[in-house]
Amino acid sequence: MKATNRRAFLRQLGISAAALPLIAGLPGLNASSSAKPRQRMIFMFSPNGTVPNHYWPDEAGADYKFKRILAPLEPFRDRTLVIKGLCNKVRGDGDGHMRGMSCLLTGIELFPGNIQGGSDTPAGWASGPSIDQELKQFLQSQPETRTRFGSLELGVAVPNRADPWTRWTYAGPNQPVAPVSDPYQVFEKLYGQMQDRENLGSILDDLRTDLKTVAGKLGREDKALLDKHATFVREMETELRDTARQKLAKPAPVLPPGISADNDDMPRSAAMQMDLLVNAFANDMARIGSLQFTNSVGNARMRWLGIEEGHHGISHDPDLNEPSQEKLLKINVWFAQQLAMLAKKLAETPEPGGSGSMLDHTTIVWTNELGKGNSHTLDNIPFVLVGGGLGFKSGRSLQEKLTPHNRLWLAVAHAFGHRLKTFGSSKLCEAGPLGLS
C-alpha cells in the first residue's frame, strides 16, 4: 500500500473525494447514456451461519413455502431464488470462519499467514479476487457499462480492523477492499462535492458583504487587492450556478443527523446505507454493491430485538438450547427483513431511463460465511437471490447436492456476459456454471 497524504490515505479507506475538482468536471454525475438495459448486483452478508430448520424450504421447485427466516421475502416470492446445497469447498489454511469469509466471494485458498483462529492453522489473505470485484473490473473495462465508481463496498457496524474475518471482497490476491460503515462517509464520497457547492453557494452573499466591509477600512491601493478578491468570488458564484444546473436522476437522500456507525445504531445505519446504495445505483454511479453486516464471527448485540448477548456467542450454543435457538432465529429474521427492505426500496424505484422497477434490473444475493454456527460447517451455506438483474429463473427453490459455490459465481459472471471458464479454485469449477436460467 502507498498513501500519498492523509487525504489519499482516507480515500483509500473509501472516505473522501477531495482530490476531485471542487467546481467543474464531475465525472458520472449524470447517468450514462447507454441504451442497453442495466444489470446490477448486490452482495449482502450476515455472519455465524443460519438456523437450517427455519431457513430452508422443505420443497424444491416453484411450489415452495417460506419458513420463518425467509418469510419477510413473501412480497418478492416470484422474484426469489433459494439455492440449497451450495458448499464452500475451499480448503487449506485458516479456520472455518476465516475461510468462510475470505473464500466466500473468492472461491480460492488463503495464503499462509499469522492470523490465528479458534482452530486450524493460521492464515493470511485470499489468493485471488472476489466475484464482485471481478464483475466490477469487467464492467469498468467497457465504455457502455463504465460508471463513476464501478462498485460500492458498504458495511454495517464492521469493526475498523483489517483481517480475514473482516474482509470478504478482494481486488486481487492480498488486496482486501475495506467496506465503509459510516453512512455520512458514504454520502461524502457520493455527494460531498455537491453538498460542498451548496454550502459554499449559501455563504457567498455574506462573504461579499464581509469583503466590502473590510475593504472599506483600507486605503485605495490596499483595497485593490480585495477588489480583485471580490472578482474571484463573483466568478466562483457563476461557476457554482452553472454546475448546479446538472441534475441527478434521483436527488441525494436526506440523511438523519447524528447516527453512529456502531452496534446500537445498526438498524438506522443499515437503512441509510441501503438508501445510499439504491440512490447511487439510480444515478448510475456504480452497478455492483456489497453490504456487509458486521463481520465473520460478528458479535452484534441486537438490543432492539431484546437480545443482550452477542450474535457469535449465541451461535455456538447447541441445537437443544431452545432459548438460544429462538434468539438466533430472531436475529436471522431481522437480517431477512433487511434484505426485504432493500428489495422493497429497489422495487419502489422506477428504473431510470428504462422499464419496470430497479429491482427488475438488480439481483441481490444474501449469503453467510457458515452453513450453521455451532458446527462451523461450510456446507449448505445460505444463498438466496432476489431480483431480476441476472435473468435467472426465479420464484423457485433449488436443492443442489454438495455443489461447490464457485459454480454459482461462474453462473453470475456468465449472466453479466463475462464468460469465465473458471473462477477461484479451478478444480472446483470442473462442472461449469450452475444452470439457473
Binding site: R7, F9, L13, L22, P159, N174, L225, L226, F232, V233
Partner: protein, 781 residues
C-alpha cells in the same frame, strides 16, 4: 566536457553603459560643472529622465550601490561605449554626483519610493501554521520535547491474545530489530510475541516525509491521530473502535517480507503522535523496521533524536495544494493574489471544515444526544471565528458569521459547516493585518505572525483582551517567551535554509567517476551537518552571529568523518569535530555549501562568489545583462578553474560585478566540488589569494577562508545585510517600511547585544508588531 548549466556569470553592478558624452570645454573645475545639465543634455536620450532607461536604447534602470567615486571612474573608463574618446574625469564626476543623489543610490531610491507596509494575505506557510494552531487550540496541546526513542512494551502472546503477559518495558532508541528465530528477550515466548512502540515523531522542518514499515510479521503504524479505545487492543479479533492506521501490515500473507509505505506533508517544529503495533505468530522469523525519508534525505531507520517516548496531541495539516508564493524579492510574501490561490483557499476551507465536522464531538465535548448541543456548537463557531480573526466578534459580526446560519430547518452540522466555511474564506482570516492599526489585537496578531507564522496563542489573546499588548516592554516580554517555542525554531530554521540556499541545492549529486563515494547518504548527512551547525550556534546561549562565520568545527558522523578524511565519531550520530582554523571557518567552508555552489565535476568560484556577495556581504547585484554558459571544453585544458573564470569574465562590462564576485569566489578555491580541502587544481598549486574591493573602495587582501571570515565579521555591511534578510523573512516586509532608520537601529541593537541572533529575532518581531515605533531597550531572551 560541456556544462548545460546556464550560469549567471555576468552580474551588472548597477551601471553598465552610460552613454554620456560631454564636450564642454576644457575646464578642470568640477564645481563649475552642472551635473544635472550634463545628464539632461547628454544622457537622457538613452537613460531617461530618472535613470529608468529608454526602450530600444538602454533598458537597464540606473541604480546600484557604487560610490560617487567608483561611478565617476566607471563613466570615465566606459562612457560613451562606442567611442574611443571617453568622458573627462571632472565631467564624469559631476554627472556621477548628480545621478547618485537624484536616483542611483539606495538612499535616493528610498527617498523617491518610500517603502510602506504592504497589505498582504497569509503566505502558504502562514496559512498552514494558522490552521494547525486554530484547530489544535480546541483541545489540550501536548508537544513532545525530548528525543531519545519510543516507549516499548514487550508481551508474550497466546493465540489470539497478543498481550498475554507483559514481560518488559523499556525505551527503544529506534525500531530496527531482527530477532531471527528467537525471542526479543529472555522470558518472552519465541514463537509468538508482540511489541507496542508508543510516542511521538519530532519533525524539524516542513516538507514531505515518507514512512516505511518492513516486516515478515504483523504490524500497524498509527500516525497523527487521536487515540481510540481499540488502538491499545489486546486481542487482535477485538471489535473495539480504533483509528485508521497509516500503514497496515497486520496480516502476514504468503510468508514473505512485506513493506508498506506512506507519504505525508508535515509541518516542522511540531511533534506528531506515533504508535507501532507489532506481533509475530508462528512465522519462521521475526523482524521489524521503521524508516523514513526526510525532505532531501535518503531512506534511513528513524533515528532516536526524532523519536520521543512522550505522547503528543495531533496536528491538522492542510493537504490542499496552494500555488507557490511570490518570492521574487528574496522572501515569500502575500502581496498578490490569483484565481488559483482563491480556488485553493476555497478548497482548503472545505477540507478544513470537513475535518472539523468529523471531529466535532471531540472538539465540543458533545454528541447528537447532548441537550446542550446547539448552544455548544454556536459557542464553538464563535470561538473559532474569534481565534481565526485574531480578535473578538462584535455583536453584528457574530450574527453574520455565526448565528444567521443556525436557522430553523438547517441541520446543526450544516449550520456549523457554513459558519466555518465563511470564517475560513473571510478576508478577516486570510488578510491578517490592517496596516496602521494600533490596537492590542493587531499587535498580538503581528507578533504571532512574525515569530510563528501563525495565530496568537491563549496567553497572547488574553493579554490583548486586557489591553496589555501595547507597549514595547509588554510586546517584548511576550516575544521573549514565544521565541523559545519550537515553532520559532522551525521558522528561524527556514530563514537559514533560505539564507544558505538549501533549496537551490536540490541536486547536490556530483560526477560519480570523479567523486565515487559522494553518494546520497553522504549528501543527506551533509545537509544534516549544516543544519546541526546552524542549530547549535543559533540556540546556544551566546547565539552569536560571528560563530556562524568563524567557527573552526564541523558536525560530523562516522560516514562524513571518513569521507572528509578526519578522525571523528562512530555511528550515525553527529558530533562536533575541530579543524585547523586555517582550513575551516564557519559556513564559508561547510562542505554542504561548497558542494552546492559547485559544478558537477569542478568548483564554481562564480557561484560561490555570488552567494558571498549577496547573502553574506549583503551587497546588491543586478541580474546579468546576458546569460553566459560556462563551457569547460572551450578552455585550454591545462588551465585551473581560477584561470578559466578570469578569462571568461575579463570584459569590462562583466568586471563591473565580477571585480567583486571573483576575488570572493577565488578565496575558496582550496575546496573541491565536494568541499574537500585541496592544494592542487588541474595538477597546478591552488591559488586562493585575492584582493577584495569593499563598497567604499578600500581593498583587502584575502589569502583564504579565515581572512574571508574575519572580513565578514568586521563588515558592517555584511552584518546589516544579515539583519535585513532576517527581517524580511520574519516580517514579510522591507525594514524601511517601518521608518528609514529601522535597519540601522536594529543593527545597532544587534551589535550591542553581542550579535545575539535570538535577541535579533525578538527585536525584529517587536518592531514589526509595533509597526516601527522606536525601539527602546535591548533584551536577551
Amino acid at each position: 566536457m560541456r556544462f548545460l548549466v546556464t550560469i549567471a556569470s555576468c552580474l551588472a553592478l548597477g551601471v553598465v553603459a552610460i552613454s554620456c558624452t560631454s564636450r564642454q570645454g576644457g575646464s578642470g573645475d568640477t564645481a563649475s560643472l552642472d551635473g544635472a545639465k550634463i545628464y539632461r543634455d547628454q544622457c537622457v536620450r538613452c537613460h531617461g529622465g530618472k535613470g529608468e532607461g529608454v526602450a530600444g536604447k538602454h533598458d537597464e534602470t540606473l541604480h546600484g550601490e557604487k560610490s560617487v567615486e567608483a561611478l565617476a571612474r566607471l563613466i570615465t573608463r566606459t562612457m560613451p561605449e562606442d567611442r574611443d574618446d571617453k568622458t573627462r574625469p571632472e565631467e564624469a564626476r559631476a554627472v556621477a554626483e548628480y545621478l547618485h543623489g537624484a536616483f542611483y543610490s539606495p538612499a535616493a531610491r528610498a527617498r523617491n519610493n518610500p517603502a510602506k507596509v504592504e497589505f498582504a494575505r497569509l503566505t502558504n506557510r502562514q496559512y498552514r501554521e494558522s490552521v494547525a494552531d486554530l484547530i489544535a487550540g480546541f483541545r489540550t496541546v501536548r508537544q513532545a520535547k525530548q528525543g531519545g526513542g519510543l516507549a516499548a512494551e514487550y508481551f508474550s502472546s497466546e493465540g489470539m491474545n497478543k498481550k498475554k503477559a507483559k514481560v518488559l518495558e523499556r525505551t527503544d532508541r529506534s525500531v530496527a530489530f531482527d530477532f531471527r528465530e528467537g525471542a526479543p528477550e529472555k522470558g518472552i515466548t519465541p514463537d509468538q510475541f508482540s511489541i507496542a512502540w508508543n510516542g511521538s515523531l519530532l519533525v524539524p522542518q516542513t516538507g514531505t516525509y515518507e514512512f516505511r514499515v518492513t516486516t515478515p510479521n504483523g504490524a500497524r503504524l498509527y500516525f497523527n491521530t487521536d487515540l481510540a479505545a481499540g488502538d491499545n487492543n489486546t486481542r487482535d479479533d477485538s471489535d473495539a473502535k480504533r483509528q485508521a492506521s497509516l500503514i497496515d501490515l497486520w496480516v502476514s500473507s504468503g510468508g514473505t517480507v512485506r513493506e508498506g509505505s506512506a507519504e505525508l506533508f508535515l509541518l516542522g517544529g511540531r511533534s506528531y503522535p506515533l504508535r507501532l503495533d507489532y506481533f509475530k505468530f508462528k512465522e519462521k522469523t521475526a523482524s521489524v523496521k521503521l524508516e523514513w525519508k526526510q525532505p532531501h534525505g535518503v531512506w534511513q531507520v528513524i533515528p532516536a533524536d526524532a523519536l520521543s517516548p512522550e505522547r503528543s496531541s495531533m496536528t491538522t495539516v492542510v493537504a490542499t495544494q496552494f500555488p507557490a508564493d511570490d518570492s521574487s524579492v528574496g522572501y515569500e510574501r502575500g502581496t498578490s493574489i490569483s484565481k488559483a490561490w482563491h480556488e485553493a483557499t476555497t478548497k482548503a476551507a472545505v477540507e478544513v471544515a470537513g475535518e472539523l465536522i468529523s471531529r466535532l464531538n471531540l472538539l465540543t465535548k458533545t454528541d447528537s444526544k447532548s441537550t446542550n448541543r446547539a448552544a455548544a456548537l454556536r459557542e464553538f463557531c464563535t470561538s473559532f471565528a474569534e481565534r481565526a480573526f485574531r480578535r473578538p466578534l462584535s455583536p453584528d459580526l457574530r450574527t453574520a458569521i455565526v448565528d444567521s446560519h443556525f436557522a430553523d430547518g438547517v441541520a446543526l452540522e450544516t449550520a456549523v459547516k457554513r459558519s466555518l466555511l465563511l470564517v475560513l474564506t473571510s478576508p478577516r482570516f486570510l488578510y491578517p493585518d490592517t496596516p496602521g492599526a494600533t490596537d492590542d489585537h493587531s499587535i498580538a496578531s503581528r507578533l504571532a505572525l512574525a515569530l510563528w507564522d501563525s495565530l496568537p496563542d491563549q496567553a497572547l489573546r488574553e493579554a490583548a483582551a486586557k489591553g496589555e499588548v501595547r507597549t514595547a516592554e509588554q510586546v517584548r516580554l511576550h516575544a521573549a517567551r514565544m521565541v523559545k517555542d519550537s515553532r520559532t525554531r522551525a521558522k528561524v530554521g527556514e530563514f537559514f535554509h533560505q539564507w544558505l540556499r538549501f533549496d537551490e541545492a536540490e541536486a547536490l549529486s556530483k560526477d560519480r567517476k570523479a567523486y565515487p563515494d559522494f553518494d546520497g547518504a553522504v549528501q543527506a548527512d551533509l545537509r544534516k551537518s549544516l543544519e546541526k551547525f546552524v542549530d547549535h550556534v543559533v540556540w546556544s546561549d551566546a547565539s552569536d552571529y560571528r560563530q556562524l562565520l568563524q567557527a573552526d568545527y564541523l558536525f560530523l558522523n562516522e560516514r562524513l568523518a571518513k569521507f572528509y578524511g578526519v578522525t571523528g565519531p562512530k555511528g550515525d550520530d553527529f558530533e562536533s569535530v575541530k579543524f585547523d582554523p586555517a582550513q575551516r571557518a564557519g559556513i564559508f567552508t561547510h562542505p554542504f555549501l561548497l558542494a552546492a555552489l559547485s559544478y558537477h565535476r569542478s568548483t564554481s568560484p562564480i557561484h560561490r562568489g555570488v552567494f558571498l556577495t549577496r547573502n553574506v556581504f549583503g551587497r546588491f547585484l543586478k541580474p546579468p545583462p546576458m546569460a553566459i554558459e560556462f563551457m569547460d571544453d572551450r578552455f585550454d585544458p591545462s588551465l585551473t578553474m581560477r584561470e578559466k573564470v578570469t578569462e571568461l569574465t575579463s570584459k569590462p562590462n562583466c568586471m563591473g560585478c565580477h571585480v567583486t564576485i571573483n576575488p570572493l569566489g577565488f578565496s575558496l578555491e582550496a575546496y573541491d566540488a565536494v568541499g574537500r580541502f585541496r592544494t592542487t587544481d588541474n595538477k597546478k598549486p591552488v591559488n586562493a589569494v585575492s584582493e577584495y574591493t569593499a563598497v567604499d573602495g578600500t581593498k583587502v587582501k584575502l589569502s583564504g577562508p579565515r581572512d574571508l571570515a574575519d572580513l565578514a565579521v568586521n563588515s558592517v555591511d555584511a552584518r546589516r545585510g544579515f539583519v535585513r534578510q532576517l527581517f524580511q523573512q520574519t516580517a514579510k516586509q522591507a525594514p524601511a517600511a517601518y521608518g528609514p532608520d529601522t535597519l540601522a537601529q536594529l543593527d545597532q541593537t544587534f551589535a550591542s547585544s553581542g550579535q545575539n541572533i535570538r535577541s535579533l529575532v525578538v527585536e525584529v518581531a517587536v518592531t514589526s508588531a509595533l509597526h516601527g515605533k522606536p525601539i527602546q531597550v535591548a533584551s536577551k531572551p
